[in-house]
Each structure stands twice: as structure tokens, then as C-alpha cells.
């Protein structure tokens, strides 16, 4: 079978499975209502178990993060016993930019400036796009403005229409990293001592980020077979973002917290760091796929025949909540952002294709990894539809079809248990979310805390609206070969580092 045919079949699988689950449940209810009730009861029990397990992981990982909060990472990284020397470690911080304003990038660089790591060990790379207007002048101004604070500031402009590339973030980052490699080699640096952090334009690292990263890099024997994942906290514009956007993004942060505890499943997401040497070995980020952040992990995983992991840093990087011009536009922006994240289902195709050609990775590991990818994406595309639409549909129409069914009566009882579990988890979320809320700017009323509290009441509506549909949309597009174009999330911010 030709490679293209295999690719098309693989592209169909996730969407086909998700739609099959949804259609199967609806058809089963029409043909054998009692059987559908049994299936939904089993699904709800599974869901409650998974939800409670995830909540415990959230508590554990948050506790782990809190326990390390007061570590003096800088001293620890200077004193750690390692075959590499702290003094030789250089950080390359690569900001991929597109149309973001000069002020927004400057705000992120101000944050970087405030980190406690020696700035003479940090090279800032501003990776711009030729496609965007005024890129050259914008980056040049920033370069000159911040050069004095860091070891160096480099600006690269990614030319448009390079053959074999599509307009995605990975292509820009790759182009820039290649230029940086030349720069580093010219300066005589050993690439094994270089750590690259690939940040979005709005990424503001915690002051301990580079110290913690350096410590864990030096302390890990398998540092070249490991990516380092910070905790993305979407809070830069939390005081100006609409309530429902806050709830969604706190949810994203919590999801990363939970994932951080599942070591064997954990893969890179959004802003991340890794050895520059490894990046060169795997031939950089993919230039023709959208999910560059997760695909770089899989490239490394394949390169090292499955012996590659992602290390959770438990140190946050602060990012912007995706917002639009008004709340309706914000819904659209959030939907598109989640759909782009859900487009990560392309990992399944990429990994499957490469697994077919890789004889060194054990079969069990291959199956396990493919199952993990599929499970994550199919659960994402179906859970909210089953919980928010199919279960109520069965409960309401079942009262007519199966008037006196004991199973239907019990389904409504179990559904109640699910919602009680959700309430418990919501309470947990409210408590933990306070820890990620930055100090209130002086120009914002205290009354906003009521909004922070009551925003959680929106959860059922958000789950129904944005829980599964972006993922199902992405999988359906992939299934029909209607590929998603890279859609940059608009960035706007009212809060700078001085407000934090």
C-alpha cells in the first residue's frame, strides 16, 4: 500500500472512532434502549472513577509544586554534582512571533529580565515572520532595546514560501534555531551545554524558571533524552478576560498539572525547553505540521527508540488567556484555539507512520503509545457529547419509551452522582485556582473576586459548548482531508510584570 493511502487511512481512524461511538450510542438507544442505558451507566461509572482519580492527581501535583516553591534553585543548580558545569550552560530563549505588538513582546522580555538566572548566560532569539507587517523594524527596535540586558539578542526573519513548509509556528522556530546553531558554533559553544526554550510571544517565565531548568538539566543523567515542560498558567490578562475564558484556561492549566503527574504519558505542550544538541539531532521542529509543540516530543521519542521522556518542572510560565474583541468573538477565538490544540490528533498519524518503519521500539510500547494518543483524543471528542447531550436525551425520551424501567430510574440516579462528583471537583478547582491568581492590579475593583467565584457556575455550559466540539471538529476535518490552517491566537494584555 502506498504511503499516501496509509496516511489517509490513519487520518480517518480517530474521527471514525469518535463518530462511531456517538452514532452507536444513539442508534443503540433507538433499537435497544435498555442496552444503551447499560452502556451509558458503565460509561458514567468509568467517568466518575476517572474524574476522582484526576482530582487526586491534581491535588498531588499541586502539593508537589507547592513543596518546591521555596527552593533556592539557583544555588542548587550551582552546587549540583554533574558531569557538566553550571558556568558552561547557556540558555537560548526563542520567542516565536507573528503579528504581536512590540509592547507585548517587550512585556515578555521584561519578565525574562526579572528572572534570577545570570542574564549573561541567556541568548534571546526573536523569531519573526516575513509574512507579518513591519517585522524587521519591530524586532530591530526590541533587539537594540534589550541587547544590554542579555548575553545577546538575535532577531531572525523567517522567509515566506519556503518549499516544503506550511505557514506554521514550527517552521519559524526551525528556521530561527538553524540560524542560532550557526551563531553558537561561530562563538565556539558546545551544543551539549545549550538549553533551548521555545516560547510563544506572550510567555512570561517565573523568576525561578531558568534556575530550576538548569538544576534539573544538570541533575539528570538522561538530559539529552528529555524535554522539560513548565506549567503553563494562563493569567497574564486574567483581570480583563471574560469569565468563561478564565474558566476554560484555568481548566487548561489544571489539565497540564494532572498530566504532569502521569510521567509516562506526559508530552511537551506549548512553551517547553530541551537540549539544543537533541534538537539538532532530531532535525528541529516539524515545518509542515501544526502541532509542533507535541510533535517535537514524538520526533525525539522516535529518534531515541522510545527512550525519551518529558520532565515536569512544576515551575510556571505565565501566558495570555485567548480573548477576542468582544465576548462572542472570545468564544470564537477560544473555539479556534482549542480546535488547534485538538489538531494534535495529527500526532497519531505521524507516530503511526514512523512506528511502521521503526523496528527498534518494542511492539508493546508502540501499541501503548498509540492507545494513549487515541484514548486522549477520542475521550476529548466524545465525553461532553455523551454527558451533556446523549445522557439527558436518553433520560428524557426514555421516560416515554421505557416508562417503568428500573434501569432508566437508576441511570438518572447515577447521573446525579456524576454531577455531585463534578460539584466536588469544582470546589477543588476553586480552591486551587486562587493559588494561580496574580495580585489584583490597583485599577481593578475588589468586586471582581465575586466574578472569580461565580465564574465556575458556567462550567456545565462551557463543557457542553466547548468540551468536545472543537476536538470532534478537528477530527472530522482530518477524516475528510480538510486540513486545518495554522490559526494564530490573538494576544492582548493589560497586565505587565510590574503588576505581578
Amino acid at each position: 500500500m502506498s504511503e499516501n493511502k496509509v496516511k489517509r487511512i490513519l487520518e480517518i481512524i480517530p474521527g471514525f472512532l469518535s463518530w462511531s461511538i456517538i452514532i452507536f450510542l444513539i442508534l443503540l438507544f433507538i433499537v435497544k434502549p435498555l442496552a444503551a442505558i447499560v452502556v451509558i451507566i458503565v460509561y458514567l461509572i468509568y467517568w466518575v472513577c476517572r474524574l476522582l482519580y484526576s482530582s487526586l492527581l491534581l491535588l498531588m501535583t499541586n502539593q508537589r509544586r507547592r513543596s518546591k516553591k521555596n527552593y533556592d534553585w539557583l544555588s542548587m543548580s550551582k552546587e549540583v554534582k554533574s558531569d557538566l558545569k553550571f558556568e558552561n550552560i547557556i540558555h537560548v530563549v526563542l520567542y516565536t512571533t507573528y503579528k504581536e505588538s512590540k509592547e507585548l513582546i517587550a512585556s515578555s522580555l521584561d519578565f525574562l529580565k526579572e528572572t534570577n538566572y545570570p542574564k549573561d548566560k541567556i541568548v534571546v532569539v526573536l523569531a519573526g515572520e516575513e509574512r507579518a507587517p513591519d517585522t524587521h523594524s519591530r524586532l530591530e527596535i526590541l533587539k537594540n532595546q534589550y541587547r544590554e540586558y542579555f548575553l545577546d539578542v538575535i532577531a531572525t526573519i523567517h522567509p515566506k514560501d519556503i518549499e516544503g513548509e506550511i505557514p506554521v509556528k514550527g517552521a519559524n522556530a526551525t528556521y530561527s534555531a538553524k540560524k542560532v546553531k550557526v551563531y553558537l558554533e561561530e562563538k565556539g559553544y558546545d551544543l551539549k551545554n545549550i538549553i533551548i526554550s521555545c516560547f510563544d510571544a506572550d510567555t512570561c517565565p517565573d523568576k525561578n524558571y531558568f534556575s530550576c531548568l538548569t538544576y534539573n538539566f544538570l541533575n539528570n543523567q538522561k538530559r539529552y533524552q528529555m524535554s522539560f515542560q513548565p506549567l503553563p498558567v494562563y493569567s497574564n490578562n486574567i483581570y480583563s478576560a471574560p469569565a468563561f475564558a478564565r474558566v476554560i484556561e484555568v481548566g487548561s492549566t489544571f489539565w497540564q498539572l494532572i498530566e504532569g503527574m502521569r510521567y509516562e504519558k506526559f508530552i511537551t505542550f506549548s512553551s517547553h525547553s530541551m537540549s539544543f544538541d537533541t534538537l539538532v539531532r532530531v532535525d528541529y521542529w516539524p515545518v509542515d505540521l501544526i502541532s509542533d509543540d507535541s510533535l517535537i516530543f514524538w520526533k525525539c521519542f522516535l529518534k531515541y527508540n522510545g527512550d525519551y521522556t518529558t520532565f515536569p518542572l512544576d515551575i510556571p510560565v505565565y501566558m495570555d488567556i485567548a480573548v477576542g474583541k468582544n465576548w462572542l468573538d472570545t468564544i470564537a477565538v477560544q473555539y479556534k484555539q482549542k480546535r488547534r490544540w485538538a489538531w494534535g490528533v495529527e500526532n497519531f498519524i505521524f507516530v503511526s507512520q514512523h512506528f511502521l518503519n521503526n523496528k527498534n521500539i518494542p511492539l508493546f510500547l508502540k501499541i501503548r503509545k498509540l492507545y494513549q494518543i487515541l484514548d486522549g483524543h477520542i475521550s476529548w471528542a466524545t465525553w461532553a457529547i455523551i454527558i451533556s447531550f446523549i445522557t439527558p436525551l436518553v433520560l428524557f425520551s426514555g421516560k416515554v419509551i421505557l416508562k417503568n424501567s428500573l434501569a432508566l430510574f437508576n441511570l438518572s440516579y447515577i447521573n446525579g452522582v456524576v454531577f455531585h462528583s463534578l460539584t466536588f471537583i469544582l470546589m477543588l478547582c476553586i480552591i486551587i485556582s486562587w493559588e494561580f491568581t496574580p495580585p489584583r492590579p490597583k485599577n481593578v475593583s475588589r468586586l471582581i473576586y465575586f466574578s472569580f467565584l461565580f465564574q465556575w457556575l458556567l462550567t456545565p455550559f462551557i463543557s457542553a459548548l466547548l468540551g468536545s466540539t472543537p476536538s470532534l471538529d478537528a477530527q472530522t476535518r482530518l477524516m475528510f482531508g480538510k486540513y486545518l490552517a495554522f490559526n494564530t491566537t490573538p494576544k492582548s494584555r493589560v497586565q505587565g510584570p510590574e503588576d505581578r
Partner: protein, 309 residues
Amino acid sequence: MHDNIYLILRKVFFWFFMALFFTLTPVILYYSLGYKFDTGSKKFLKTGAISIKTFPKGINVYLDGMKIKEITPCTLRELLPKEYTIVLEREGFYPYEMKVEVKPSQIQDIDIFIVPRMVDITKLDIDLHIYKFFVTKHLFGETIIVFTDKGIYFLDGDFKGAKKVSAQIFEESTANSIENLKESSGRFLFWNKSNLWVLDASQGKDKDGKYPDAVMLYKAEDDIKDVFLGFRGKYIIIHDGLKVIALDADNLKVSFPVYELKSVRSKIFYDSRSETIYIQDKVKGAAGFSLFRAEIMPLINERILNERK
């Protein structure tokens, strides 16, 4: 805590929830479908359930004579398929007994209203012989106007605050003949077929300690069929036989007919909000009735002002 401890804990939780899922699922499924393990016969038996809802809640439930722990609303589960006798009982309510057929894997819904026993009957504790009473509603509740052998009394809805408003004693037969009562600004109009009275209860006793008497306002030429208050009680419109008569409430001498009806079966309705009279009356030469409307207040105003001059 060392990172490894978290790893171990995570694995423990993972396997715990995995075991929980695989243990709970068959148990819940069997239970949901109505199965019950009978330790005696060591077999799974198919059962049914009865869901009981009552108004009010909190009623005791007896199943085949045995009181169950729960009170309504409740669900009686794991019942073997057969006919059961359910009794719902609580002090102060009539017991409710019914037969319910339980079928395997099915739930029987019972939703009933439990009737309270009438134990809270309160008797008026004033020694009065009641001839007739009327209830008028106002902003703060109700007032009961009672015609008695000792005069006319006002009572609150809960029988509190009994107040004598007139010492006038109507004969029992006259009091019984009173057809209706209307109130406007403390003045009470009441009538029978022959007479229309007014009682001004707004002033209370006079300086000599005497209660006001009801004044006879109008004596019918034919039969008083209905009475309406016009222009905030200033005018009284009376349907007397074939006549519609207007009365100046401030000057009882002034009365005049405003409309002549064609049939004794004709009816009138006076809408005090729009000051409009609606008349169901016959048209000359026609067999049936028709409906008319007229804004008669300008006419009444003019006539009354002329009379006053």
C-alpha cells in the same frame, strides 16, 4: 515528599480506581437492572421497585404491614415480583392504602396527595347568633362582615380583632335576604331585592358613644338586581327592574334614571376603571339580545351638578 513517593502514590491510586471500576461496574449494573443475590437459594433473582412520592412529604410507609425506615419520598428496592399492599400513614392525615403490582426490572411510580384530617377547626369565641356574613378582600387581607343578633361586626380573616361597627339589629329574615355587599372607602353598601342600605364604618362611635346605623339609601320600585359604585364610590348605579338609576352618594336625595331597559332579563355591568356601562338588552323588533356600551359618567356628572345647583 520525594518525587518517587508521588510516583508510587499515583500508581496506587491508578490501580485502586481501576479495581474500583471493575468491581463497582458489575455490582451497579446488576443492581440497576434489578438483580438481587438471594443468600438462601444462592441464586440471582430479578426484582422490581416502587417509587413513592407524596404531598406533603414525610409520610410513613408500611409495606405488607411492615413499617419501613424511610419516609416519603422514597424508593423501595429489591422487591420480588408480586402484589404488595402499601399503606401511607401519618398523624393528622387520613391513611392511604393501595395494592401495587411489582414487575421484574420495573419501577412502579406512585405520586399521591395525602388528605389531612380536619382537626384545626376554630370557632368564633364571641357569643353571637350569626344571621349572614360577607367576606371582602383588601390590600392587607380579608374583612368578614357579620350580621348578628347583637348588631353588625367586623372580623379579621383569622377571627382575631372582632369589632362591633353598628348596633343596628336586622331581623334574621331581612339579614338573610341580603344578596350582596360592596365596600368603598370604609362605606359598605348592601342590598336585598327591596332595599339598598349604606353603613359608614369609617367614623366609628360618635361623641355620645353611639354606633352608626345603616341608612336605607334606596327603596326599589321593582327588584334590585345589581348595584355598582361609580367614580370612586361617589355615585351609585342601581339596576332596578327595567331601570338603571344613578344616585349621588353624598346627596342621597338626588336620584334619576339613566337608562331604560327593554326586558326584565336584561343585564348590566359597570366597569369602574373605565367608567363605562355595558348593557345586554333587547333591540326593538328583534328576537334576541344585543350588547351595548355607554360612557354615562359625563351624563351623571352633569345631572348631579344641575341638581346640586
